[in-house]
């Protein structure tokens, strides 16, 4: 008898307590700022914490609530965010990749125009024009970039090149294919790839290298058709590059993809510069010694960027507070707190550069060089909206199986029309 009652009472207490805790999570209060991101990996988590600390110090009495969701390179976070935005329950600020990844949010009225904040803070002068152009959607800017990553890079182990007698990384994809024949002859894999998105990343860099920056931008703005001879011959090169890769036994993660370079079973890998912090921190390798990197073939002087940025959602409890967070994100001090820890460079060109050494120092110099041509990344949401990007995923995944480039080109061209 007593046992039964006790069980019922304890059940009641537990359910009450769990209900209470849910109340505190969902409870709206004006003294906290909820920031939504997918920064849960090593380095980026510490970087966010450092910015949060600075924000709390500058705004006494305000609590920073980190609503980060891990997993799937942000895809889990994006799915949960979509349900919150559809329910009109936005966080006080959320992370997106700068560029057309935000197009849907803009068209659906989920984010507010930040053009006036840019004017007030004078950000128009401190961000490079190429970045601002890619941030602008229908003449307005909706996001504040915190960091810059670079996509058009080819990574290698200098020792492997020495052993194979290859003087240096290829300058063009044609040269790469020449090298690939030699490398294959010596029983190594010329190019390591990883999961599907790394293959899309590779396609983007091949297109950029073969078409050049102008045609690359025209391709994604719709002025150049995927079915044109120019693009088709570039895709043809991509097909050959993919054939020279280990796509049949691709690594399951980008880290494992790079491991093949480190161990020397594969020679090159095309990957973004989050690789540098992985190679230096997890693998304890030195730039120029244990690993080296060059711009991907045919893209010298071009900076294929992606950027994590923050937004001001529509219907937040306190827009002023969110704006303060965005000012922190856009400030030189905030960017210099975050980026050295994450292993990326500040989007601002006037943030003190002495914190960035090794690879980061090299890439920072190019980012700030006015002669550098800045273009946006496809695989990381700058030049293609989410719908288009997802359809390219499908088409590319099917292409890897059927190998019919003509069909791939016409499918993607059609998807461009349907998703614009």
């Amino acid at each position: 008898m007593w046992k039964g009652r006790l069980a019922i009472i304890s059940l009641l207490v537990v359910s009450l307590l769990s209900g209470l805790s849910m109340l505190t999570v969902g409870g709206a209060s004006d003294d906290q700022l909820e920031v939504y991101s997918w920064w849960t990996g090593p380095g980026e988590e510490e970087g966010l914490a450092a910015m949060a600390e600075a924000f709390e110090a500058a705004n006494p009495g305000i609590r920073f609530v980190n609503a980060a969701v891990s997993g799937g390179a942000g895809s889990n976070a994006k799915a949960i965010l979509a349900s919150r935005l559809l329910a009109n329950d936005p966080p006080d600020s959320y992370q997106r990749h700068a560029g057309l990844e935000l197009l849907d949010d803009v068209r659906s009225g989920k984010v507010q125009d930040l053009t006036s904040l840019y004017e007030e803070q004078g950000w128009g002068k401190v961000f490079p024009k190429g970045l601002l152009d890619n941030l602008t959607i229908d003449g307005k800017i909706y996001a504040v970039p915190v960091n810059i990553h670079r996509a058009n890079l080819i990574w290698y182990n200098p020792r492997t090149l020495r052993d194979l007698g290859i003087p240096g990384p290829p300058k063009t994809w044609a040269e790469f294919l020449d090298q690939a024949a030699t490398i294959k002859g010596k029983g190594k894999v010329p190019l390591a790839v990883g999961p599907e998105w790394t293959q899309k990343h590779l396609m983007e860099t091949v297109l950029l290298g073969e078409l050049g920056a102008d045609s690359y931008e025209r391709l994604f703005s719709g002025d150049l058709r995927w079915t044109s001879t120019e693009v088709k011959s570039a895709l043809d090169v991509f097909g050959k590059v993919l054939d020279a890769s280990d796509v049949k036994s691709a690594a399951g993660e980008w880290q494992l993809q790079l491991d093949r370079i480190v161990e020397g079973s594969a020679v090159y890998a095309v990957m973004g510069d989050w690789s540098s912090s992985y190679l230096e921190q997890a693998k304890k390798l030195q730039w120029k010694e244990g690993y080296d990197v060059a711009t991907s073939p045919g893209t010298d002087g071009v900076y294929d960027f992606l950027s994590d940025s923050f937004t001001l959602p529509t219907g937040v409890r306190s827009p002023d507070l969110s704006r303060k967070w965005l000012i922190e994100c856009g400030s030189a001090a905030g960017q210099n707190l975050f980026n050295p820890l994450k292993g990326s460079i500040p989007a601002r060109t006037d943030a003190p550069a002495d914190l960035y050494r090794g690879y980061l120092g090299w890439t920072l110099q190019q980012w700030r060089d006015p002669k550098t041509r800045i273009v946006g990344s496809l695989a990381h949401g700058v030049v293609a909206n989410n719908a288009y990007n997802a359809e390219i995923d499908s088409a590319l995944g099917l292409y890897v199986q059927h190998g019919d480039l003509g069909k791939f080109a016409s499918t993607v061209q059609q998807q461009f029309q349907e998703t614009r």
Partner: protein
Amino acid sequence: MSAPVHVPRHSNAPPAVPFTPPPIRRRKRRGPAWLAGFLLVSPSLILIGVFVYGFLGWNVRVSFTNWRGLSPSYHFVGIDNYTRLLHDERWHADVRNLVVFTFVFVGGALLLGFVMAMLLDKGVRGEGFLRGVFLFPMAISFIATAIVWRWLLDNGSGDDTAGLNKLFAVAGLDFLRSDWHKSDSIWAIAAVALPAGWALSGYVMALFLAGMRGVPEALRESARLDGASETQVFWHVVRPALRPVTFSAMLIMIHISLKTFDLLYALDQGNLRIDTPSLYMWFTTFDGGFYDRGATIATVLLIGVALVVGPYVWYALRTERR
């Protein structure tokens, strides 16, 4: 609950007479007899009604709209989404993959589970231990299973060889080397039946073992007395008794197979060789914002599962009525 009556051992006093409460006067019933029962189940009825059937209906409704992206649209477009899906190349591949996977996985799990149950039923030393061993994989989440098998099913060559292929190489069984789920064959997804079957055949074994133990020993004995061999006992006595178990096990496996998501998602994300409708539904909805297409795929999947579960419910109702 009645407490045992305490009788003092060395006492001449008569044992205490258990107290019998006077019969409770029956209260006058308020309302009809079904009302109390109905009130008792109504909370779950309402919750299931709203959160299962209500949202099912809502999902079907979305599948007839052109909702894309973050602004919901309920503009009715008829069966456009369904016809478009019929012409979708990725969908074709997904359906083919699902059929292959279901056949190999369900067939394999049933066969393996049955054999394991039969061996255990014959009486092995340490049966309890073995039962646990066979059942344990089911206790591991599909995500963890996938992470382990991602390595076991690695298809690297040369220095990169790992997992099962390495085992084969060490054991001198090189001819067994396979590209598993990364091979170019349309059977690539059949390789995923390995981890799925590994995880669930123990469960099938438990079902079959329970079924075999449910056959009364008297039936077997009498068959033996009539001169039946062990094979005949199995075929004519045990097998017919196992038919309902086989039926339930098959249906449970098929509907698990139709819904498999996490295993494939964690095994090799974005590899369309092992893409299935449930994965396509997730990616197109949450990466691409195609809520209309996602809802359409969900509806087709629902119909698929209903076609499998429907006969089962019908069968269960029929046998219960008997």
